[in-house]
């Protein structure tokens, strides 16, 4: 009879939407993770794998013991840094997808320390500084293009990613190449490596660099006037300008800070990742760190502390995913593992995506509306 009784489905959808939007963030994340896990389970079930055994393998492989936990953390370290790159800029109102290229450049700069000798600790610090500066400089390109020419950062950072890719390809193949090992660059000497933190795992002291940078970014954004300006400019640029904030300054600052983060990720994956301590031709250990970082940023709600948690989760997914391939009587091939991980990450990123992109929310609403469309005029008649 009544308007709403006619379309219970629509009502349900709206109800879900309303319930979701009012949830506590932690609860929301847990709920999203559950949804993602269920979708993943359904996919595995459809393709003939036992989801429960597979998830057991995932859990064991991710957090089953100190070795597993250390491996998960290790996998998350560079992602913390690239996620921060994205989040800093997003907080500053920009959609910076340039972390990918900045990682490459940062890694290449870090490798350069192989060409000179310094005392142990100092050598490491110099390498970190090299990578940070290289990342920042590479990030300045899109920043300057935006400030002087108004080029949208999405376009310029994509372009810079490609340039970085081929530039580093070239450097790896012809300049930094190890003459005896053509498939990789010269190795970073022992004096410039992050020592391994947990023996027998990948976890090195680079984890402290990542955590320190995350805390630094948190403090900067929420406890200094400079960070306040970045956030204000990101949220309401008009009001920020009214408040005497130089948007140009905040843009430049967020790009540079972001570049530092990505550069450090490059350092962490070369100076702090056994066994190679060099860039492999084709950059297979650097590839996608920037893009995965965006997913981590989304899952972590673009908050440095959330990113730390999200990176641990993401690292766990990756580390556990390796184990899913051979664990027990139910091996799941990597392709399937990746599909499942994709489902989980997507589900967890959606709430933040919806918040971040009002346009996305609008299209989401349009979808809900379409699904629950009703015609009062007809019903009234």
């Amino acid at each position: 009879m009544t308007a709403s009784e006619v379309q219970p489905g629509g009502r349900l959808l709206r109800g879900v939407h309303r319930t979701l939007t009012g949830l506590h963030p932690a609860l929301e994340s847990v709920l999203a993770a559950v949804v993602g896990l269920l979708v993943g389970a359904a996919l595995m079930y459809i393709w003939g794998y036992d989801p429960w055994k597979a998830y057991w393998a995932l859990l064991r492989g991710a957090y089953g013991g100190s070795y597993e936990i250390a491996s998960s953390i290790a996998r998350g370290v560079p992602l913390v840094l690239t996620a921060l790159t994205f989040s800093i800029c997003l907080r500053g109102g920009m959609f910076n997808i340039g972390a990918e290229g900045q990682v490459y450049v940062g890694a290449a700069a870090a490798v350069c320390v192989a060409y000179f000798k310094l005392p142990p600790g100092l050598h490491l610090l110099v390498g970190i500084a090299f990578a940070a500066v290289a990342g920042a400089v590479w990030s300045l390109g899109p920043a300057l293009l935006k400030l002087t020419r108004g080029v949208h950062e999405v376009i310029s950072t994509i372009m810079f990613n490609w340039i970085a890719r081929f530039l580093v390809f070239y450097l790896v193949a012809y300049v930094l190449v190890d003459a005896r090992q053509g498939q990789r660059t010269v190795q970073i000497p022992l004096s410039a490596r992050f020592p391994v933190l947990v023996r027998g795992t990948d976890l090195s002291y680079s984890v402290f660099l990542a955590v320190a940078f995350a805390l630094f970014v948190y403090f900067l954004l929420w406890h200094t006037a400079t960070g306040y300006e970045v956030r204000a400019a990101g949220l309401t640029p008009t009001a920020a300008r009214y408040g005497g904030i130089s948007i140009r300054r905040t843009i430049a600052l967020s790009f540079v800070l972001g570049g530092i983060g990505a550069g450090l990720a490059g350092a962490a994956t070369t100076m702090g990742l056994p066994p190679t301590y060099a860039i492999i031709s084709g950059l297979p250990q650097l590839m996608n760190l920037g893009f995965d970082g965006m997913a981590v940023a989304m899952v972590g709600r673009n908050h440095p502390l959330g990113i730390l948690v999200a990176a641990l989760f993401f690292g766990g997914l990756n580390a556990g995913g390796r184990v899913m391939q051979f664990y027990g009587s139910n091996p799941v091939p990597l392709e399937m593992v990746r599909v499942v991980m994709g489902a989980i990450v997507l589900a967890m990123a959606i709430p933040e995506l919806v918040r971040v992109f009002p346009a996305m929310a609008a299209s989401g609403r349009a979808l809900v509306r379409m699904l629950s469309r009703r015609k009062p005029a007809e019903e009234a008649a």
Binding site: F326, P331, R338
Partner: protein, 389 residues
């Protein structure tokens, strides 16, 4: 009674080490980021291990790597379980990770294809790719001479020592073919066009490099970059389409697997086969038979580890392609026919000459040079300049 007891003791004593040696029944294959589906290197590694596991009644697991950062963890994860008789690393890129893992897990047996890891528990399986590349090079050079093409080409991947084997052998083979052609036809030498694309994955790079070579009159292009061969073949196929021909030069020379059947066998003249499957199989076999030892196992023409493609392998690999879904079963006969037609475009004396070269290498009367370092490679290049100033 005592006698029985004594016997039992003896049995136990003898059996104890034997029990320790007993098979756990599992082998693992670890692939690099290239992963499965290349119908070549990685798939052959899988196929050989799978076959061995089947023949010896073992269970096999396959572990792929999403990124280079996964290599070492994957090896560690497997070795930690202590459940694997053998862990095979398919591919050169896993070398660093294996060196570390082998040291951490001295009780675990490993094998690696294409790299040398100096550890007592690692069987390093390498191939003498220079030998089969020499055969392909000779074939290409003579075909070019026959058809009056100025060049032969090769598209390579990343400049790593393994690829130097190919280049060195190919250069030698071309030079040998040039001499043979001069004897037979009185033609001048053909040159070599070669490109290191720096990639084992970017198919477009293979296509672009091949197009450039075809434009400079290459009679064929040898693919030494795995998946890039798809791009190479695409360029060659398009060239034929524009030229209005269905067979004959320019040719595609496949690599690792028998790739002659690719593109329904129209342009694949021959492949420089590197039997990764044979390598993996023999590693598993060694473990099962108790003959496993660390150190280098070099496989060449003599061991059946490398070779130039023949009709028999073609059938085997056509079936491989069909089972992977890359070739439609109904195209099987047509593919074989196309291949035969294409082979027929090369005169018999050339095939005989290739056989002659093969026999010489097998007999040890002909020694194909190789290179493992930049310097050695430079030396080979200097010796066989092949048209380059």
């Amino acid at each position: 009674m005592r006698k029985w007891l004594g016997l039992a003791l003896v049995v136990a004593l003898v059996a104890a080490p034997a029990m320790a040696q007993a098979l756990k029944g599992k082998v693992a294959v670890v692939l690099d980021v290239g992963g499965r589906g290349d119908l070549s290197f990685n798939d052959m590694g899988f196929k050989g291990t799978d076959q061995a596991a089947h023949d010896f009644g073992l269970e096999m697991v396959e572990v792929q790597s999403a990124t280079a950062a996964d290599y070492l963890p994957n090896l560690r994860n497997l070795a930690r379980t202590g459940q694997y008789d053998l862990i095979i690393c398919v591919g050169f890129l896993l070398g660093d990770a294996l060196a570390q893992a082998a040291a951490e897990f001295p009780q675990q047996k490993f094998a690696i294809i294409d790299a040398v890891v100096d550890a007592p528990n690692v069987m390093s399986i390498v191939f003498r790719e220079n030998e089969m590349s020499a055969l392909v090079g000779a074939l290409g050079a003579m075909a070019a001479a026959h058809y009056g093409y100025p060049n032969v080409g090769v598209v390579l991947g990343i400049e790593i020592p393994v690829l130097y084997h190919f280049e060195a052998g190919y250069r030698f083979g071309i030079d040998w073919g040039n001499k043979k052609a001069a004897e037979t036809l009185g033609t001048g030498p053909v040159g070599l066009l070669y490109t290191y694309t720096g990639s084992f994955s970017d198919i477009a790079l293979g296509k672009a490099a091949t197009e450039a070579m075809l434009a400079q009159g290459a009679v064929g292009v040898y693919n030494v970059a795995g998946p890039l061969g798809i791009g190479d073949l695409e360029a060659i196929t398009e060239f034929h389409r524009n030229q209005g021909t269905r067979s004959g030069p320019p040719y595609y020379f496949g690599v690792d697997a028998n790739q002659d059947w690719l593109g329904n066998g129209q342009h694949g003249l021959a492949s420089g086969m590197k039997r990764v499957d044979v390598g993996c199989y023999s590693a598993v076999e060694a473990v099962v038979k108790g003959t496993f030892t660390g150190g280098i196992t070099s496989l060449g023409l003599a061991e059946g580890g490398v070779g130039i493609s023949k009709f028999v392998d073609l059938l085997e690999f056509i079936d491989f392609g069909i089972s992977a879904g890359a070739l439609k079963p109904e195209d099987r006969e047509a593919t074989i026919a196309n291949w035969a037609v294409n082979r027929g475009t090369v005169p018999a004396w050339i095939w005989r000459a290739v056989d002659e070269l093969e026999a010489g290498i097998l007999a040890g009367t002909i020694v194909v040079p190789t290179a493992d370092t930049v310097d050695e490679m430079q030396a080979v290049r200097a010796r066989y300049t092949l048209g380059a100033p």
